[in-house]
């Protein structure tokens, strides 16, 4: 498999990273280099192997479904680049 410039543009958009058109050939080349390296994995017989999800066999922890924290809107907003009247502010989303 190899990545074309068009696919590189699509990946950049999916990742929400702006990439200039002029930078796409180099990006596609780098991504191809990495993917080529990954293709070694095709040598391995993985028939009947379950994909691993975690390193230690453990059941996800459970707890009582109760409120344990909250009431800290001010703290949560304190690092926002733009916060107004108790909300995060973003550019207009709906036309």
């Amino acid at each position: 498999m190899s990545i074309t410039e068009d696919q590189a543009r699509k990946v950049a958009h999916l990742a929400r990273i702006a990439v200039d058109d002029a930078a796409l050939p180099a990006l596609a080349r780098e991504l191809n280099g990495i993917l080529h390296f990954m293709e070694q994995l095709n040598e391995v017989d993985v028939t009947g192997v379950e994909p691993m999800t975690g390193v230690t066999p453990m059941r996800l922890k459970r707890r009582e479904d109760v409120v344990t924290t909250g009431e800290m809107a001010e703290k949560i907003l304190s690092n926002a680049p733009d916060a107004r009247e108790g909300f995060f502010a973003v550019p207009k989303v709906v036309e």
Binding site: V46, M52, P81
Partner: protein, 493 residues
């Protein structure tokens, strides 16, 4: 007594208890050393006022007889740990200005034990890198050098390694996702311990790859690693992957007796082009353990070769998901927007100017391997290979192996700017001996064992059984004693 900042944790603790020094004196010695070490670029946010306040509190605690082994010990904290009110940006521009409103569990545990916060340490951005060159602060520099070239301290915990090796602090925290504690420890001649996945809480540690990330101590000696791990580790309800194992007193498990232990030498780690010196060091290490009464056994971990490509699928996949949170909305930096730019342009511009090239690369690779049509071919296949790699280790331990000995890195520290940044795969090869351990979640420790012809430190690593850090530290102690590595970098900075 030698310079206070060059003490080990154990020696400083003993001196504090005997009243031979104070936490304030220790802290001042470190702050002075830090002021004089700007050229190493290790400390990137200094917290001297906080340090002096904490040192005074520690002295009061020692006087009251309520000290722990870490009380009054000045430490450096890798930038990736959230420390309340202190800049914490994982060396990324995208977190510029971020001051957490909360504290990571690891740092809270250290402060509860009475440790003293000197400041934040340089690293690769979001812990992605092996040379500390991918940092918004510029690279940290290795205190070791043999000619006029500056060397990398390794990465990603390069600032932590440089700071400990140069005696700017008594110890430091690191994190290890693919070798980021062990490789820099090897490059700087210090001890670095990656605990079992789940031993140390990930709460408040800025995430890279959540199924691989694990924090651990970077110290001057094995004993110090035992002491500091005990203070960092906990069972934490805030981290759902924190293991429900009580934390033992690791230091008390350091008996120096490894008679009858079976140490495996994995033949697949003898890679093509491995320098003679590394191979010789490895043999020497095996001899040291044998002389101490261990049995050395050749073993096979047949899927070793596939660990690196599997890692470079799984880690970027998890990173692309974890780093989706940096959107210019909730914290950190937002790009300046043009007329008519909407929310998508805001995300794209913010992430393009906030993430460095290596982070962008990994986020995009991760996005690609998780995207429709490629998920099975790359991501699921990598996870299956990961299961096979794990099986290799399970088999070795089931055959009665107690630990595994391997080189930590394929080379000694290399010059900064010597690796071609446009050839990422070449860069990734640095991690060939370290990534396997993260994929299988086992504990590992890097110990300085010798020097190369030019005088640069070289290390070996031991891998242990899950949650058997005590036994692993004990084996490392034997290696440390036999190797007698006492060399220090000549001060040039």
């Amino acid at each position: 007594m030698s310079d206070l900042n060059s003490l080990t944790i154990a020696d400083a603790r003993d001196a504090l208890r005997k009243g031979e020094t104070t936490a304030v004196e220790l802290t001042d010695a470190c702050l002075t050393a830090i002021e004089g070490a700007g050229a190493l670029n290790a400390f990137v946010h200094k917290t001297p006022e906080m340090a002096r306040d904490m040192a005074q509190a520690a002295d009061a605690r020692i006087k009251a007889g309520e000290a722990t082994a870490m009380t009054g010990i000045p430490v450096g904290i890798k930038d990736v740990f959230c420390v309340k009110g202190v800049p914490s940006q994982a060396a990324s521009r995208i977190l510029e200005g971020f001051r957490p409103e909360y504290e990571s569990t690891v740092t809270q545990n250290l402060w509860n034990a009475g440790a003293v916060m000197l400041g934040k340490l340089n690293q690769d951005e979001f812990a992605m890198g092996s040379a500390n060159e991918a940092s918004c602060y510029g690279p940290a520099v290795n205190p070791w050098k043999v000619d006029d070239r500056q060397l990398t301290p390794g990465g990603s915990s390069g600032g932590s390694a440089a700071a400990v090796a140069a005696d700017l602090c008594l110890a430091a925290t690191g994190t290890d996702t693919g070798g980021s504690i062990r490789q820099p420890a090897a490059f700087t001649g210090i001890v670095g311990l990656k605990p079992t996945y789940g031993r140390v809480s990930r709460w408040g540690v800025i995430a890279y790859a959540s199924s691989l990330d694990q924090a651990g101590p970077m110290t001057k000696t094995v004993r110090d690693a035992a002491i500091m791990l005990g203070a960092m580790a906990s069972v934490d309800p805030l981290d759902s992957t924190s293991a429900d194992h009580p934390v033992p007193d690791y230091e008390s498990l350091l008996t120096g007796d490894i008679r009858g232990k079976r140490i495996g030498i994995p033949r697949e780690y003898r890679v093509d082009g491995m320098p003679e010196e590394i191979d010789a060091l490895w043999h020497k290490g095996a001899d040291m353990l044998r002389d101490a009464g261990a049995e050395i056994v050749d073993i096979s971990l047949p899927h070793t070769k596939y660990a690196l490509p599997a890692y470079y699928v799984i880690a970027p996949a998890e990173a692309s998901s974890n780093l989706a949170r940096y959107d210019g909305v909730r914290y950190g930096r937002r790009a300046k927007l043009g007329q008519g730019d909407g929310i998508v342009e805001m995300y794209e511009k913010t992430r393009a100017e906030g993430f460095g090239p290596e982070v962008q690369r990994r986020v995009m690779i991760g996005t690609y391997v998780l995207s429709a049509g490629f998920y099975d071919a790359y991501y699921n296949r990598a996870r299956k290979v990961r299961a096979l790699i794990k099986r290799d280790f399970d088999n070795a331990f089931a055959d009665g192996i107690d630990a595994i000995l391997a080189p930590t890195t394929p080379t000694a520290a290399f010059p900064l700017k010597s690796v071609d940044q446009s050839d990422p795969v070449q860069m990734y090869l640095n991690d060939v001996f370290t990534v396997t351990l993260n994929l299988v979640g086992l504990p590992g420790i890097a110990v300085p064992v010798g020097q190369d012809k030019k005088g640069l430190p070289l290390g070996l690593q031991l891998f242990g059984k899950p949650f058997e850090e005590g036994e692993l530290l004990n084996q490392a102690l034997v290696l440390e004693r036999a190797a007698g590595f006492l060399a220090k970098p000549d001060r040039w900075w």
